[in-house]
Amino acid sequence: MKRVGYFFLYLALIVVALFQILPLIWLFLFSLKSNQEIFAGSPFSLPSEFRWENYQKVWDGGIGTYFFNSVWITIAAIVFTVLFASMAAFALTRMKWKLSGLVLGLFMVGLMIPIHSALIPLYSMFLSVDMIDNPWSIVITYTAYNLPITLMILLGFYYTLPHEVEEAAIIDGCSIHRMFFRIILPMTTPIMATTVVINMIYNWNEFVFVNTFISSEKYKTLTVGIQNFIGQYMTDWGAIGATLIISVLPIIIAFIFFSNKVVEGISSSAVKG
């Protein structure tokens, strides 16, 4: 009896897993097929020949530019976000000042606001300083909007750092900057890694800011770029599949190598609610 019960529980879990994974397997399979094969054959059959040329075709078609933009914008925003959030976490948890509670509260509020409410003013602000269609507008926007969540994840760790370390450093005549950059920051490497992974996912996948602030093809990132791209290949399913696989691959690879960090980061980002 008990065995039968467990069988059904497993069955339920596996059905959910299949629902989660089958659309992606289907996508990967049709990215390697020709239209003829996609439309005539069974959806989950292996391609009769693996048409890697679909990937070659979209890469040569210009998706490489979007890919490169996504990479550098994602990395630049991660560096600024994690650095500024770490400095803020240091100021908020280790330094003594009256307004720290208020400032922390403002960051907390920053977690809940809908970005669409700020979109029009942001657009007109960037327009007035001539930063529309400039990738740096994207970098600083990503940095600002990821600061609250990054700070929240860091704070817990900063609270647990022992004070003795700083005391010893200061008494030894170490400057505060040297202490922060050479001692504190390296001590927070594990939690910084978690925030890096979370920021990477957010930045890589962001759509609306790029779609609104960037109009030149040469600055577009993958999320916006693949939109036009897919329009071009309207009926070429293999090319569309290849485009989508290329756009999600870096995140999937990061997940395979750092799945525990991703799980940790996503769980801690949830408790923001």
Partner: protein, 297 residues
């Protein structure tokens, strides 16, 4: 003496400013000031480029009477309701997953994969899934004998449900992950004690596990509902609010007003209403789901 130096350094105003300023300035300039400006622009007649003309509360009054806006708000709230109800499924899956299942760790990571992908990629993939002639959904329906499967995204009565399925797909792993972590935190001894007292697994789930993770459930209700009110990317890419407004949501309506019709004043007012609605809903859910006393165990 040493501690004195320490205190002096750690309360030095210049140092404090140096460490907090970059993050704080970005927070103010790029998040809070634009939010306030949105309320202010809402008082203007403005096309985004030309002069702003002050028109008082006209945009807000227009917004409150705008059928298209309330139509989009209705869709947002329906998605929020679906999302909140889907938490029950996620909770059930998590309870099974957390009950000493082998491979639970691998399974919850598999569940999480869609959550990592961009909404744009998800939208494009599901446009293909729903493709009337060649998508897997209709291919499947035809093989089991459905003669004329619907064109999911072109049918006004189906489109909202059709959009909800990828949302379910995207977020399942996220909520399961959160519930799973909370359930794993429940001390085994409590469950063991109940089992010895003869409680069935169902009773244990309903009477012990659920009450103990009540707080996290209430957090997820806020996340699911408020998150739904802000949905944009997926819908914008899949249907752009169509057909004929049948899948328009608040954010996509605002976006259209501003960046397709260049109605920046009115768009700002709608954006500000979106902010107010989100904040009110957050407060109401917090109030309703508030746990009176913290459960100790």
């Amino acid at each position: 003496m040493g501690l004195n130096v320490m205190n002096k350094v750690m309360s030095n105003k210049l140092y404090i400013a140096f460490y907090i300023a970059p993050a704080f300035i970005l927070l103010m300039v790029l998040i809070f000031i634009p939010l306030l400006l949105s309320g202010y622009y809402g008082l203007m007649d403005w096309d985004g480029i030309g002069e702003k003309t002050f028109i008082g509360l006209d945009n807000y009054i227009e917004g409150i009477q705008d059928k298209l806006f309330w139509n989009s708000a209705l869709h947002s709230f329906l998605l929020a309701l679906f999302s909140a109800l889907s938490l029950i499924i996620y909770l059930a899956v998590s309870i099974i997953l957390a009950s000493k299942i082998k491979g639970a760790d691998l399974l919850r990571k598999i569940y999480l994969i869609p959550m990592l992908l961009s909404s744009v990629a998800i939208a494009q993939l599901w446009v293909k899934v729903y493709n009337p002639s060649n998508g897997i959904l209709n291919s499947f329906l035809r093989t089991i004998g459905v003669e004329n499967p619907p064109s999911w995204l072109a049918d006004p009565s189906l489109v909202l449900f059709a959009i909800f399925v990828p949302i379910l797909w995207q977020y399942a792993g996220f909520y399961i992950l959160i519930y799973y972590a909370a359930l794993k935190n429940i001390p085994e001894s409590l469950i063991e004690a109940a089992r010895i007292d003869g409680a069935t697994p169902f009773q244990i789930a309903m009477r012990i596990k659920l009450p103990l993770i009540k707080e996290i459930v209430s957090v997820t209700i806020v996340l699911a509902i408020v998150g739904s009110l802000k949905y944009f990317d997926l819908i914008y890419v899949m249907t752009a609010g169509g057909p004929n407004g049948a899948s328009e949501v608040m954010a996509s309506y605002m976006y259209k007003l501003a960046f397709s019709s260049y109605n920046f004043g009115y768009g700002s007012a709608i954006g500000f209403l979106l902010l107010i609605i989100t904040l009110i809903v957050t407060l109401i859910i917090r109030k309703v789901t508030e746990t009176k006393e913290k459960l100790e165990y």
